[in-house]
C-alpha cells in the first residue's frame, strides 16, 4: 500500500497526473470510500486493503472530463470494466493513467455480521500484502475469521488476477478462484419452473428500487436510464407490484448482456442482499453456450455478441427447454 501511495504522490509531483482516484479510509475499519486525491496530504487517508471492493472504473466517466490526467487504481477485474467502457466510448483513455493494483480477494463485512460479529472496534489482517486470518476487536471481545470465509462471493469465481489494461502494475495478487462460476446458475436451472418462479419472486420481493445496482454498474453507464425516460413511457420508480421490479431487473440484465463483465458490483451493493449477479451470469452462460465463449471487456475491439450474429445461430425455440431433455 505504501508503494502505491508513494508512486501516486510521485506521479502527481512529476506532473504525469493531476489527481488520483483511490480509496479513502473510512470512519469504521471496514468502510473505505472511493475518493479523489490531489494534494500530498490527501494521501494521509489513502487506504488499499481487503475492504476496498468498489470498482472505480465507472468514476472515470466523470473524471475523464476533468482537466488533466487522472490516475485510477483498478483491480484486475475492474480493468475488464474499464476496457468495456473504452469500447463504448464512455471513458477517455488518453486522460487516464491506470494503476493496476494487486488483489487477494475482497471482503464482505456482511459475512462477518452474518457470523454474529458486531460492535467492531478495529480489524486486522485485511492488508493487501497479508495472508493470515482476519481478527476483529469488538465490544464483545476478539473474533477471528479466515480471510477466505470473509471474501465476497464474486471473488471465489474470480476471472483471474491479470490486468487486461494498465499503465503500470503495483502489488502482488493471490488467486482466489475456488468455485465454479456457473454453479449457482446451474442449480437454479435444475429447479422446476415453479421453484424457479418462487425463488426469484421471493428474492425480488425484497427489492426496494433504490437503483444502487444500476448506478454502481459500470455497464449501466447510460446518461439517462430507460427506466427514468419519460419519452419511452417506460418510467418506473417503485416496486408497486411484483412485476415492475422483475421487468426492471430482466431488462437491466438484458441491456448489459454481452457487455457485463461479471464484476459483481450489483450484488455487492444491494442493500437487500439480492443475488442480482444471477441474472447477468445467466446471460453470460447462455451467450457462452449459444455463441461461443465471450468475456466482455477482455478485448476492447471484440464485437459484443448482441451486435453480432452468424447465419447458423441457435433458434429461440431451442434456447429454452434445454434442461427438459
Amino acid at each position: 500500500m505504501q508503494e502505491l501511495i508513494d508512486r501516486l504522490k510521485e506521479l502527481i509531483a512529476d506532473g504525469t497526473i493531476v489527481r488520483a482516484i483511490g480509496w479513502k479510509k473510512g470512519d469504521m475499519p471496514y468502510n473505505p470510500e472511493p475518493a479523489y486525491f490531489t494534494e500530498a496530504e490527501d494521501f494521509d487517508d489513502f487506504v488499499y486493503d481487503g475492504f476496498c471492493g468498489a470498482n472505480l472504473s465507472k468514476m472515470m466517466i466523470e473524471a475523464g472530463k476533468l482537466e488533466g490526467k487522472t490516475a485510477v487504481c483498478l483491480k484486475p477485474c475492474d480493468t475488464y470494466s474499464f476496457n468495456q467502457l473504452i469500447r463504448e466510448h464512455r471513458v477517455n483513455r488518453e486522460n487516464t493513467y491506470i494503476i493496476g493494483v494487486g488483489c487477494r480477494g475482497k471482503l464482505d463485512i456482511e459475512k462477518a455480521r452474518k457470523a454474529g460479529i458486531k460492535g467492531i472496534k478495529s480489524i486486522s489482517g485485511v492488508e493487501i500484502e497479508g495472508d493470515g486470518d482476519v481478527v476483529f476487536d469488538t465490544i464483545y471481545g476478539e473474533k477471528k475469521m479466515a480471510y477466505k470465509d470473509l471474501m465476497l462471493d464474486r471473488c471465489h469465481v474470480c476471472k483471474g488476477k491479470e490486468h487486461v489494461i494498465y499503465d503500470e502494475l503495483i502489488g502482488q495478487s493471490q488467486d482466489t478462484d475456488d468455485a465454479d462460476r456457473f454453479e449457482e446458475v446451474r442449480k437454479i436451472e435444475a429447479m422446476t419452473p415453479d421453484e424457479r418462479f418462487a425463488y426469484f419472486k421471493t428474492e425480488l420481493s425484497k427489492c426496494i428500487r433504490c437503483n444502487a445496482c444500476r448506478n454502481v454498474c459500470p455497464a449501466c453507464s447510460c446518461r439517462k436510464c430507460v427506466f427514468d425516460n419519460t419519452k419511452f413511457d417506460s418510467q418506473q420508480k417503485a416496486n408497486v407490484d411484483s412485476f415492475e421490479e422483475k421487468m426492471f431487473h430482466i431488462i437491466r440484465a438484458f441491456h448489459v448482456a454481452g457487455r457485463c463483465t461479471d464484476c459483481g458490483e450489483c450484488s455487492r451493493v444491494c442493500p437487500e442482499g439480492i443475488p442480482l449477479h444471477l441474472f447477468n451470469r445467466k446471460f453470460i452462460k447462455d451467450i457462452d453456450d449459444f455463441y461461443g465463449e465471450f468475456q466482455a471487456g477482455k478485448d476492447p475491439e471484440a464485437q459484443s455478441p448482441l451486435t453480432d450474429f452468424t447465419f447458423e445461430d441457435l433458434e429461440p425455440k431451442d434456447a429454452v427447454g434445454r434442461g427438459d431433455k
Binding site: 464512455r90 430507460v226 425516460n229 419519452k231 419511452f232 441491456h255 448482441l306 451486435t307
Partner: protein, 666 residues
C-alpha cells in the same frame, strides 16, 4: 390530442359480412381523440375517398384511422387521399380488419370485437403520430464503376450511352479483366478477345467515360446521390499524354530478356519485362513500370527505356496521385479470381508443372498466349496425349476450411468447351473428365455438353480424384474412384487440368467495408433482396455487377451489368432523391455515444459526432449518434439495440408501439 376521424370500410361484404361495421363505428367513437366516425361501402373508391376528404375539411381532422384491408394494399391510397385534403400523409393509420379479421373469423361477434380492438390500437397510435416529411437530397450525375472487366465495361457503357458520366477504376494497368485472358467462350465458341476488344476500345473512346487504370479506390464517404471517393492513381512512370503505345520500351527492357518477372496476365506461364503492357490489346495502350522489379528503381542504374523512348514519355519521377471525385452511384464489379490451391496438395499442383488450372489452360490454348496457341506440357514442351480434367476443385466443399461451399457454376461448361477445343485441334487426344455432377442449365448449354460426350467422345466419369502422383517418367498417375461402378481407377495422364473454384476478388472485402455494403461469408456482395433487388446492395446507391455478387457466366454477367446500369440510370435521372421519412432519430440528450446502434446498422447510416448539447440547462460537448437520413431505411435495428431509448424510429416509435400494445391488452 389529435382530432381523429375513423373510417370503417365494408369492402362490399368482404368485411361487412363478418364484422358489424356499424357497431365498430359506434364503439370507436368513445376512444380518446376521435371526433368523427363513419362507415362506407368502399372506402378506397373515388366516392369513399371524397368522403374522407370532406370529413378532414369539415372536422379539421388531424389524424385518420382507416379500418379496411391490409395497409400493404391501400395505405398509399389513403395517404395520398389525406395529402389531397392538406393533411400530412403520415397522419394516417390503417387497421387491417379484412385480411386479419373478417376473412379469417367466422363468428360475427368475435370478429367485431377484434375489429374494435384493432381500430383502438390504430387510434392510440395515430394519437402519437407526428407529421413526417420526406427529405430531399441532390444527386450528383456521375457514376463510379469499380472494376474494368466485362461486368464493369458493360455497366459503364450502358450508363454512358444514356448520357451520364461514368468513371471506371481498374487496379490493373489495363481494363479487360478475366475475360481478356480467355480463348473462346461457351457455348458458341466465339473468340473472347474478338468480342471483348471492341468494347474495350469503345470504353476508351467514349466521351462520357473516364478511365482510371492502375488505380484504386482509397476512401469513400457520403451516401446515395452524394458519394465522395478518393481514387489513388498509382504512378505509371509513363506520361500518359506523350506515350504513343509503340511498345519499343518493352522490347528493349533488359529484364525482358533475362526473364525473371512472371507475367500476371499469362498466369506465370510466361515472363514479362519491367516496363510492360499486360497484353497486346491493352487499353489504354500505355505501359507501366513495375517499380518493384525495375533495375532503375532498385539500383538507380539502367534507364534504358527512358533513353530509347521516341516520345520521351518515360517519367521516373512520377508520383501516386489522389483525386477526389463526387458520384451519385457506385457499381461494384470487382470480379473474381480462382482460389489458391495450396490446400489441395493431393492434386500436386505445386509439385508438377503439368498440373494446371483451367485458366492456365485458356492461356496455353490462346494464340496470343505463351505457346502461341500450341497445347504443350510446361515440363517438356511435348504435346499431351492423355489429359485429365478434375471438376469441383474447391467448389461444393463440405469443409469450409479447404474450399467453398458453393458451386462455381461455370466449370462444367468451360471444361466441355476445353475438351471440345482440344479434340478439334488434336483429335487423337484422350480426354477424361472426373465430375461430381454435370450442371448445364442455360440456353444451349446441355446441347453443348452432350456434343462433348456424344460427338467428341470425351470420357466423363462420375468420380472423385483422390490423388495425382507425378511419376518418374514425367507422366502423372491419377487415382480416382468411379462412383457409378464403385471401382478404383488408376489412370496415367500427361496433363491434369483443375477446375478450381472461383472466389470474389480478394480486394472486395476492403472495398465493401469502405462502401458499407454487406458481404456474405464467402465474400460475395449481398444483394438488397435475393429475388427482387438482385443488382442492388442493401446500402442505397451501391449496385452490383458480375461475379462480385456471385458465380455467373459471361452472358449472365453482361445482363446483370445492364440491369445494374439501368438502376444507376434510374437513380441519376432524378434531380433530387426523396428519402424515407420513417427514419431513425437520435435524441442527443439521451444518447451515450456507445456505438451499439452503429454496430447493428446494415446501412452505415449512423455516425458519431461531438456535438454541443444543452441538457436541461447543462451545456456539454458529447459524442452522440447522428443518423444520415438519406441512408437510413427505417428498419429500427438500432432502436432495439439502444439501451437508453435514445434511438427511436419515426412512424414506429417506442411510444407508438407500446401504446398499441397497451390498447390491445386493455
Amino acid at each position: 390530442m389529435q382530432k381523429i376521424g375513423v373510417f370503417v370500410c365494408h369492402c362490399g361484404t368482404n368485411i361487412a359480412a363478418t364484422v358489424d361495421v356499424k357497431k365498430v363505428v359506434e364503439l370507436v367513437r368513445y376512444e380518446p381523440g376521435v371526433v368523427f366516425a363513419d362507415d362506407y361501402m368502399y372506402m378506397c373508391s373515388e366516392a369513399g375517398q371524397e368522403k374522407i376528404i370532406e370529413a378532414i375539411k369539415e372536422y379539421g381532422l388531424t389524424g385518420l384511422v382507416i379500418c379496411s384491408c391490409s395497409p400493404r394494399m391501400h395505405e398509399k391510397t389513403f395517404r395520398a387521399c389525406a395529402e389531397k385534403a392538406g393533411l400530412n400523409p403520415y397522419m394516417v393509420e390503417v387497421a387491417n380488419i379484412r385480411e386479419q379479421c373478417s376473412w379469417i373469423h367466422k363468428d360475427r361477434e368475435e370478429a367485431t370485437k377484434k375489429a374494435v380492438i384493432l381500430a383502438r390500437a390504430a387510434i392510440a397510435k395515430v394519437n402519437l403520430n407526428t407529421p413526417l416529411k420526406e427529405g430531399e437530397s441532390p444527386v450528383t450525375k456521375r457514376a463510379l464503376v469499380i472494376g474494368g472487366g466485362i461486368a464493369g465495361i458493360q455497366t459503364a457503357l450502358d450508363i454512358a450511352d444514356a448520357g451520364y458520366q461514368v468513371d471506371i477504376v481498374e487496379k490493373e494497368p489495363s481494363i479487360g479483366g478475366r475475360m481478356s485472358q480467355f480463348d473462346k467462350t461457351f457455348p458458341t465458341l466465339d473468340c473472347a478477345s474478338c468480342i471483348l476488344t471492341p468494347k474495350m476500345v469503345e470504353v476508351n473512346q467514349h466521351p462520357n467515360i473516364t478511365l482510371y487504370t492502375y488505380s484504386e479506390v482509397e476512401k469513400v464517404s457520403g451516401y446515395v446521390g452524394n458519394f465522395d471517393v478518393d481514387i489513388r492513381k498509382k504512378a505509371r512512370s509513363v506520361d500518359f499524354d506523350k506515350c504513343t503505345g509503340c511498345g519499343e520500351c518493352s522490347t528493349k527492357c533488359p529484364l525482358g530478356k533475362i526473364g525473371k518477372i512472371p507475367s500476371e496476365f499469362d498466369r506465370g506461364l510466361k515472363n514479362r519485362p519491367a516496363i510492360y503492357m499486360p497484353f497486346a490489346q491493352a487499353v489504354p495502350a500505355v505501359p507501366v513500370i513495375d517499380r518493384e522489379n525495375c533495375t532503375y528503381f532498385k539500383t538507380g542504374k539502367c534507364g534504358v527505356c527512358a533513353k530509347i523512348c521516341p516520345s520521351k514519355a518515360v517519367d521516373y519521377e512520377q508520383k501516386d496521385e489522389i483525386v477526389t471525385v463526387k458520384y451519385g452511384a457506385i457499381v461494384v464489379a470487382t470480379g473474381f479470381d480462382i482460389i489458391n490451391l495450396d490446400k489441395f496438395g493431393e492434386y500436386a499442383y505445386n509439385e508438377s508443372p503439368d498440373v494446371i488450372t483451367s485458366i492456365e489452360l485458356e492461356r496455353l490454348m490462346n494464340a496470343a498466349g505463351p505457346t502461341g496457341g500450341h497445347l504443350e506440357r510446361m515440363s517438356d514442351h511435348k504435346q499431351p496425349k492423355d489429359i485429365v480434367f478434375i471438376q469441383c476443385v474447391g467448389s461444393r466443399c463440405d469443409s469450409e476450411e479447404k474450399g467453398k461451399p458453393y458451386c462455381s457454376k461455370v466449370c462444367c461448361m468451360y471444361t466441355a468447351k476445353h475438351a471440345m477445343l482440344i479434340k478439334d485441334h488434336w483429335p487423337d487426344t484422350n480426354i477424361t473428365v472426373f465430375y461430381i455432377d454435370v450442371r448445364t442449365p442455360g440456353k444451349n448449354f446441355d446441347e453443348f455438353y452432350r456434343r462433348a460426350v456424344e460427338q467428341y467422345h470425351v470420357n466423363y466419369i462420375k468420380g472423385q480424384v483422390g490423388k495425382v502422383k507425378p511419376q518418374p517418367d514425367g507422366s502423372l498417375m491419377v487415382q480416382a474412384a468411379d462412383l457409378l461402378d464403385g471401382k478404383q481407377i488408376n489412370m496415367k495422364a500427361d496433363m491434369v487440368v483443375l477446375a478450381a473454384a472461383v472466389e470474389p476478388n480478394p480486394g472486395v472485402r476492403k472495398i465493401a467495408t469502405m462502401l458499407t455494403a454487406s458481404i456474405d461469408n464467402n465474400n460475395f456482395l449481398t444483394e438488397a433482396h435475393a429475388k427482387l433487388r438482385p443488382v442492388e446492395s442493401p446500402t442505397a446507391g451501391i449496385f452490383l455487377s458480375g461475379m462480385a455478387q456471385g458465380p455467373k457466366d459471361i452472358p449472365e454477367t453482361v445482363s446483370q451489368a445492364g440491369a445494374a446500369a439501368v438502376k444507376v440510370i434510374g437513380l441519376l435521372a432524378k434531380d433530387k432523391l426523396k428519402t424515407n421519412p420513417c427514419t431513425a432519430q437520435c435524441d442527443t440528450l439521451l444518447c451515450n455515444g456507445c456505438s451499439t446502434c452503429a454496430n447493428v446498422c446494415p446501412y452505415g447510416a449512423i455516425t458519431y459526432d461531438d456535438v454541443q448539447v444543452m441538457d436541461h440547462g447543462l451545456r456539454e460537448t458529447r459524442r452522440v449518434a447522428q443518423v444520415n437520413l438519406a441512408l437510413c431505411q427505417g428498419c429500427g435495428a438500432c432502436t432495439s439495440a439502444c439501451p437508453s431509448g435514445a434511438m427511436d424510429l419515426q412512424g414506429f416509435s417506442n411510444r407508438q408501439i407500446t401504446t398499441e400494445v397497451d390498447a390491445i391488452c386493455r
